[in-house]
Symmetry: C2
C-alpha cells in the first residue's frame, strides 16, 4: 500500500515523466533451489522509482521497464552473502565465480558445502566491508548496467534523450534511496524532516565537471573554458580584471581576462537556469548518449554521470507510526514546494483520515501534486500564495514506513 499521484496537464516540451506501475516486488532467488531451504532461500526486495525524462520519453520508459531487472541481476550474486551474518568474503572461490558467468548460472560460492569466501588468512591492513555497502555497490552497478543497455539499444528501442532516476529499495530491514539527477526524497518521521537525497546539477557538481574539463580540455572542443565567470565576457573587456573560479576554488577572485577566457564557460547560469555547456541542467542520470552542444560536434555525455548517490535508512532503528512516510518527488514538486510545506501537507491530510484507511497516502500524494500545480488563472497557473505554480511534470510517491498502512 502506498500513495502516488502525478499530473501531466502542462507537460512542457521535451520533458517527460514516468513511474513504475506500483511498487515492483523483485524476487531474488537462485534457480534450482527449493524455496525455504536455508542455502537456497532467496529474498524479496521492494522497489519504487521515478524517471523524469528530458528530450523525449524513451529513456524514462526503458529505465522503468529494466532498472529493477538490473538490480535483481546485481543482487542475485549476493543472496547467500547478504543473509550470512559473518562479514562478506573479500575474495570468492574460483569455482563459485565460474558459475556466475551465464544466464543459467550455477550455484553461488558455498553451494558445494563450503562457507562462502576465501580460506586465506586475514591480511595485514585488510579492510572490513559491510553488507550494506554491498547493496549500495549493487545499486550503483545496476544504474551503470542500465545506462550501458541504453547506449547499446538506443537505436532499436528508439531511446532519445535521457532521464533522471530516483529509486527507493527496501531490502532486509533497510531503505536504500538512490538518486541520479534533480528529483528528491525526504523522510518525515514524527514531523521531523530527514533528507534522503541531494540534487545533482551543474551547480552542485561544478567542481567535478571543471576538474574533468581541466584534465581533458579536448572534451571542451574549442568552444568552452573550464573556468567559471559570473557572466559572459565581452571581447572589448580583454585585459580587464574579472571574477572567476577554477576547479579548486569555492571562493571567487579576480583575474586578468585573456583570449581563452572569451570562450563560453563550461558551467553557466544560476539555480534552475544553470547549464552544462549551455545545454543541460542535470548532471547525473541515464541516457543522453547522443546529446551534443547545439550545432557542434561536442558530446556532453562525458560530463554526465549515471552513478547515483545512495543513502541508507535503517527502518529497524526506530519505532515508526502510521504517519511516518518516505516522499519521493520529481523537481516539479520541489521547485515550488519546500520540504516543510510537504511535511505540513503530509500531516494535514493524514490526520483527516483514519490510520487504517488505505487511501490516505494516495490522498497525500494527490494533494501534493494539486497544490504544486496550482490553479489556472488569467496569468497562468498560480499557487494558493499567488506565486507561479509548477509548469513542469510532477510525480510523487508517498510510502508509509510503519503502522497499519505499512508497505509490507
Amino acid at each position: 500500500m502506498l500513495g502516488r499521484a502525478s499530473t501531466t496537464r502542462t507537460r512542457p516540451a521535451a520533458r517527460w515523466w514516468w513511474w513504475r506501475d506500483g511498487p515492483a516486488r523483485g524476487a531474488v532467488c537462485r534457480p534450482g533451489r527449493a524455496p525455504g531451504s536455508r542455502r537456497g532461500k532467496g529474498f524479496h526486495f521492494h522497489y519504487w522509482a521515478l524517471f523524469d525524462g528530458h528530450a523525449g520519453g524513451g529513456a524514462a520508459v526503458l529505465a522503468s521497464k529494466r532498472l529493477h531487472l538490473h538490480l535483481c541481476e546485481q543482487l542475485r550474486d549476493l543472496v547467500d552473502i547478504l543473509q550470512d551474518p559473518s562479514p562478506p568474503p573479500i575474495c570468492l572461490q574460483r569455482d563459485a565465480r565460474a558459475g556466475l558467468a551465464g544466464p543459467n548460472r550455477a550455484p553461488l560460492a558455498g553451494d558445494d558445502g563450503e562457507v562462502p569466501g576465501d580460506a586465506l588468512p586475514r591480511f595485514h591492513l585488510e579492510k572490513a566491508v559491510s553488507h550494506e555497502s554491498l547493496v549500495i555497490g549493487a545499486i550503483e552497478n545496476a544504474f551503470k548496467r542500465m545506462d550501458e543497455q541504453m547506449e547499446r539499444e538506443r537505436a532499436a528501442q528508439r531511446v532519445s534523450g535521457g532521464c533522471c532516476a530516483l529509486a527507493a529499495v527496501y531490502l532486509l530491514g533497510k531503505f536504500y534511496v538512490a538518486n541520479a539527477g534533480d528529483s528528491r526524497a525526504i523522510i518525515i518521521r514524527n514531523g521531523e524532516i530527514i533528507p534522503m537525497s541531494r540534487e545533482f546539477t551543474p551547480e552542485t557538481e561544478r567542481q567535478r565537471l571543471q576538474f574533468l574539463g581541466f584534465l581533458r580540455p579536448e572534451l571542451l572542443g574549442k568552444e568552452f573554458t573550464h573556468l567559471e565567470f559570473p557572466r559572459r565576457i565581452q571581447p572589448k573587456e580583454l585585459g580587464k580584471k574579472m571574477l572567476y573560479r577554477d576547479q579548486n576554488m569555492n571562493g571567487w577572485a579576480y583575474k586578468k581576462i585573456e583570449e581563452d577566457d572569451l570562450k563560453f564557460p563550461l558551467i553557466y547560469g544560476e539555480g534552475k537556469k544553470a547549464r552544462v555547456m549551455a545545454t543541460i541542467g542535470v548532471t547525473r542520470g541515464l541516457g543522453d548518449h547522443d546529446l551534443k552542444v547545439f550545432s557542434s560536434n561536442i558530446h556532453i555525455k562525458p560530463f554526465l554521470s549515471c552513478f547515483p548517490e545512495v543513502r541508507v535508512y535503517d527502518l529497524t532503528q526506530y519505532e515508526h507510526c502510521p504517519d511516518d512516510v518516505l516522499v519521493l518527488g520529481t523537481d516539479g514538486l520541489w521547485d515550488v514546494t519546500t520540504d516543510e510545506e510537504v511535511a505540513g501537507v503530509v500531516m494535514e491530510v493524514l490526520t483527516s483520515y483514519e490510520p487504517n484507511d488505505p487511501c490516505r497516502y494516495t490522498m497525500v500524494a494527490q494533494e501534493l501534486v494539486v497544490r504544486s500545480r496550482g490553479v489556472l488563472k488569467e496569468r497562468g497557473w498560480r499557487l494558493a500564495n499567488d506565486k507561479l505554480g509548477s509548469g513542469d511534470d510532477i510525480s510523487v510517491f508517498v510510502i508509509p514506513l510503519g503502522g497499519p498502512g505499512n508497505y509490507t
Copy 2:
C-alpha cells in the same frame, strides 16, 4: 589574548610541528592614504595558523613565515571592495587593474573618484558574488601562492617535505577557518560543538584521487591501479572474484581479478594507516614537491592539493560568552581526544578560573596537550583511561570568541 600549548617530547621521525608565534595582526593598508580617510582606510585581520610538517620541518617553517604575507597580498586588492556595502564588481576597470601590477602599486579602482566596478549594465544570468566569497577566494589563492613559492625556493630555503596547514582568519566580523590536511578546528559555543573543518586524507579524498588516476593513468607509473581493493591481491588469486571500488562508487562489488589488478592500489589502508601510493597519509597541504614513491620515479605531488577548504563563522550572529572558544589542533590532539572530550576539558578548566583571568585559555590549551600526551608508564605513554597516548606532536590554539577574554 589566547591560549596555546604544545609538546614535542616524543617527536617521531620525519614529523614536525610549528605555529605562528602568537596571533599575527596583518595590516592591510593601501600606501599613500592617510589612516582614517574613508577611501584610504585599510583594515586589520587577525590570523592564527598551525603547520604540521612531515619529512622535515622546512615547509612548516617557511609557511609560518610567509603564508600571512601572501594573504595580505591577496587581500590588498580587495580593501575598498570589502568595505563597500554594494555587491562586489564583476569586472574591474582597466585603469584600476593596471595599477595593481607592481609592488609600488597605484591606488585601487575607485581612487580616481569612480565607484569601483564596471559601468556596464547588469547582464542576463549574471551571478551575484558575495564579499565573503572574495575573502574565501583570497585565502585559497594565498595557499596556492605559498605552495608556488615553496616550489620555487625549496632548494635555496632548504625546504624538504611538506606540511598540513590550518589557518584561522578573523576579518570584518567573521572567522574564516581554512584547512588543508588533517588538523582540525571546532567551535565550542554554550557547550555545543560546531565543526569548523574536515580532514583531507586518502580516505576522505578517495574519489578525487581515483578520478585523477583514472583520467591520467600515466601518473600511476606502471606500479599502481586506480581501483581500490580491501587488501593486496596475490598473483595466485588471478581469475577469482574480489571486492573492489572504482572512482564512481561508494559501495563495494565483486569483479574478476585481472592482471592489471595485481598492481598496488593507489589508495591503500584504513584510518591513520591509509596511504596514497603507499607513501603519504594526508592529501592536502603545502610542499612535498619532491616527494616520490620509494625507489621509483613516480611523483606524488600531482595527487596532493594545496587548496584549503574554508568555512565561515559569523561572529556577529550570536552573543558569545567568555567560555565560547575556537579550538585549533593538530592530529596529535584529535587522534586520542574526541570533540566531546575537548569540550569537556574546555568547560572544566575555564570554570576553574575567573572569567577575566588572562591565563584561562592558555591553561585549557596546556591541559589538552598534557591529557593527549598522557603519562610515561612501563608500557609507553598512557592516557588516564590507560589507552595509548598520542606519540605525535600536539599543538593547540584556544581562541576566545567573546567576553572579557576576547581576542580583540
